[in-house]
C-alpha cells in the first residue's frame, strides 16, 4: 500500500486542530458557566454592601476592597525591587557563577507552589517580624510571589532594546546610568507594565499565600491600618463554598464572577497596553 501524502496531511491537520480546540473549550466553558450562574447575583448592592446573615446574603465589598489593598501592597513592594534587580541583571551583571545562580534562583522562585509562599510568609512576616496576620504580611508574601514575574518581564524588555542604542549613547559620552535612564528604561516600559499587570492578575487570584498571612474568615468592615486583617475574594470564595452551609449558589458564582472579571480585566489591560506601545514602536 502506498502512502497518500494528501490523506496523512488531512489526518495531521485534524489532530493538531483538535488539540488546539481542546485548549479553547474549557476556557470558554468556565467563562460561560460562571457568567450564567453568577450574573443573577450581580447588582450594585452585591458589589458595594457588607456581607450579612453569616455571609448568606448582602454583598462582598470588604472582600473586593481587601483584594485591591493586597494587590496594591504587593505591587508597591515588588515593582521597585523587581525593576532594580532587572536593571542589574540586564545591564550590569557579568556572565559568571553568581549571576547564573541568581538567574536560577529567579526561575525556581517562579516555580515554588503558592502554599509554600503562604507558609514562608507566616514564618517570616507574621511570626518572626511580628507583623501578625495583616495586610502588610499578606502584601509582602504576594509581593515575593510576583517578583519573578516582574523581574523576568522587565529583564526581557530591557534586553530587547537594541545594543546599538546603548553604544550610540555611550559614544556620545553618556555614562552607563544615563544610558539606562534615558534610552533603555523608556523603551522597556511597555514590557515592565505588561509584566506588572500579569503579576497583579496572579496576586489577585491566589488563595494559599494569603491563607495564613492576612485573610479573615468573616470581617464585615474595612481595615483601618496595614496591620489589620482583611477579607479577600479568593479566600472568601473558598469559605462560602466549603465552610458555610446553605449559601445560595448564585452568591458563590457571583463572587467567582467578580474575581474572574477583575483578573481578566487586568490581563486585558496588559494586552491593550502592549498593543498600543507596539504600534508606536519606532525601530
Amino acid at each position: 500500500m502506498t502512502r497518500n501524502p494528501y490523506r496523512t496531511e488531512k489526518i495531521a491537520f485534524f489532530f493538531l486542530f483538535l488539540a488546539t480546540l481542546l485548549i479553547v473549550v474549557p476556557v470558554g466553558l468556565i467563562v460561560v458557566i460562571i457568567i450564567q450562574k453568577g450574573l443573577p447575583a450581580i447588582n450594585w448592592q452585591f458589589i458595594s454592601d457588607m456581607p450579612r446573615n453569616g455571609m448568606r446574603s448582602g454583598g462582598i465589598f470588604p472582600a473586593i476592597a481587601g483584594t485591591v489593598y493586597l494587590v496594591l501592597g504587593a505591587v508597591i513592594f515588588a515593582l521597585p525591587i523587581g525593576v532594580l534587580a532587572a536593571i542589574y541583571l540586564s545591564e550590569y551583571a557579568r556572565e559568571n557563577l553568581l549571576t547564573r545562580i541568581i538567574k536560577l534562583a529567579i526561575v525556581n522562585l517562579a516555580g515554588v507552589p503558592s502554599v509554600v509562599y503562604g507558609l514562608f510568609g507566616l514564618a517570616l512576616f507574621v511570626v518572626f517580624f511580628k507583623f501578625g496576620a495583616s495586610i502588610l504580611s499578606g502584601s509582602l508574601t504576594l509581593g515575593i510571589m510576583i517578583l519573578p514575574i516582574i523581574i523576568t518581564a522587565s529583564r526581557e524588555a530591557m534586553e530587547s532594546v537594541p545594543q546599538t542604542f546603548r553604544e550610540v549613547s555611550l559614544s556620545l559620552g553618556a555614562s552607563k546610568w544615563q544610558t539606562i535612564r534615558h534610552i533603555v528604561l523608556p523603551n522597556a516600559i511597555p514590557g515592565i507594565i505588561t509584566g506588572t499587570i500579569l503579576g497583579i492578575g496572579r496576586a489577585a487570584g491566589e488563595t494559599a499565600p494569603i491563607l495564613f498571612t492576612v485573610a479573615a474568615f468573616y470581617l464585615p468592615r474595612l481595615p483601618k491600618s496595614i496591620f489589620d486583617q482583611v477579607m479577600a475574594l479568593p479566600y472568601h470564595l473558598y469559605v462560602i463554598s466549603t465552610q458555610v452551609p446553605n449559601v445560595e449558589e448564585k452568591i458563590r458564582y457571583g463572587t467567582a464572577l467578580v474575581l474572574l472579571a477583575m483578573v481578566l480585566i487586568t490581563n486585558l489591560a496588559a494586552i491593550v497596553i502592549r498593543y498600543k506601545f507596539r504600534k508606536k514602536k519606532k525601530w
Binding site: 546599538t164 546603548r166 549613547s169 559614544s171 556620545l172 559620552g173 519606532k282 525601530w283
Partner: protein, 253 residues
C-alpha cells in the same frame, strides 16, 4: 615634506586582543590635528578595532584586552574618564543609528546628557549642528518627527549632527558610507571636508577611492599590522610597500 599640524593622538606599540585573537599588532602612529586620516585595508584587518580603541569603545565588549599606550593631547587615555574622553572624541558608526527619539531630540541628546538644560540653548545647538551637517534645510520643518522617518543618507547626516552637538575635538568615522548611495556619500564627504577645519577626523573606509578623495594622510592596515602610513598622495602614487600597492590597485581586498 609638508609642515605638520600639532599631534592629537599618539599611539605607541598598541596591541589588542579579542579573547585569544590578536587583532592589532604593535601599532605606532601619530594623528595630527585638523587633518583627515584615512585608514584603509581589507575586511578583518583591524581598522575598526583601532578606531574604537581611540575613544575606548572596545571596552564595552567582553574579552577585549590591550597593551601599549594611546596618548590624547599628551595624556594617557586610560587615565581619562571614559565619558570625558568620548565627549571629546565622537564616533559616527557604519550604519545610520538614530536613537528612538525625534529628529531634534536625537541631536540634542548629547548636549542634554552633558548638563545643558536651557531650552533656548538646546535649540540653538540643534540648529547649528544640523546646519554643519548640511541637514538643516531638509528637516527644519519636521524636527519633531521620528528620526526613523528620514532616508538612510539623511539619518547618517543626523548622526553626524548628533556627534557635533556635544562639541567634540575629534570625530571618528567608521565606514560611514558603507550603507549609502553615491549621492548621499558625496554629501557626507563634503561634510567631512568642511568639518576638518574645526575638527580632527579619522576615517575608516573600505572604499579606496574615498580615502584618496578625502584623506590628508592614509594608513594601510593588513591583518592587524600597520603596513604603511604617509601623506595620501604618496600612498597612492608611490607606495613604498608592495602590499599597499597591490591593495590600492585592487589586486586583493
Amino acid at each position: 615634506m609638508v609642515k605638520n599640524n600639532p599631534i592629537k593622538f599618539s599611539i605607541k606599540n598598541l596591541n589588542a586582543w579579542f579573547g585569544s585573537l590578536h587583532v592589532l599588532k604593535a601599532i605606532n602612529l601619530e594623528i595630527y590635528a585638523n587633518e583627515i586620516l584615512s585608514i584603509i585595508g581589507p575586511a578583518n584587518s583591524g581598522k575598526s578595532t583601532f578606531l574604537r580603541t581611540l575613544n575606548r569603545l572596545n571596552e564595552l565588549y567582553p574579552g577585549f584586552k590591550m597593551t601599549g599606550s594611546v596618548f590624547y593631547g599628551g595624556e594617557d587615555i586610560q587615565k581619562i574618564e571614559a565619558e570625558v574622553l568620548r565627549k571629546r572624541v565622537g564616533t559616527v558608526f557604519a550604519l545610520p543609528l538614530p536613537l528612538p527619539l525625534s529628529i531634534a531630540d536625537n541631536v540634542a541628546y548629547g548636549a542634554k546628557i552633558h548638563g545643558i538644560k536651557d531650552k533656548k540653548k538646546l535649540e540653538e545647538i540643534t540648529e547649528e549642528s544640523l546646519k554643519k551637517a548640511f541637514l538643516w534645510e531638509e528637516v527644519k520643518d519636521r524636527l519633531n518627527e521620528s528620526a526613523f522617518k528620514l532616508s538612510g543618507g539623511q539619518q547618517q547626516r543626523l548622526c553626524i549632527a548628533r556627534t557635533l552637538a556635544v562639541k567634540p575635538e575629534v570625530i571618528l568615522f567608521d565606514e560611514p558610507c558603507s550603507g549609502l548611495d553615491p549621492i548621499s556619500t558625496a554629501k557626507v564627504e563634503e561634510t567631512m571636508f568642511v568639518l576638518k577645519r574645526e575638527y580632527t577626523i579619522v576615517l575608516v573606509t573600505n572604499n579606496v577611492k574615498q580615502a584618496a578623495r578625502v584623506g590628508d594622510k592614509t594608513a594601510f592596515f593588513l591583518s592587524g599590522e600597520l603596513i604603511e602610513f604617509d601623506i595620501t598622495e604618496k600612498i597612492f602614487t608611490a607606495p613604498s610597500d608592495q602590499r599597499t600597492d597591490g591593495y590600492i590597485r585592487g589586486e586583493f581586498g
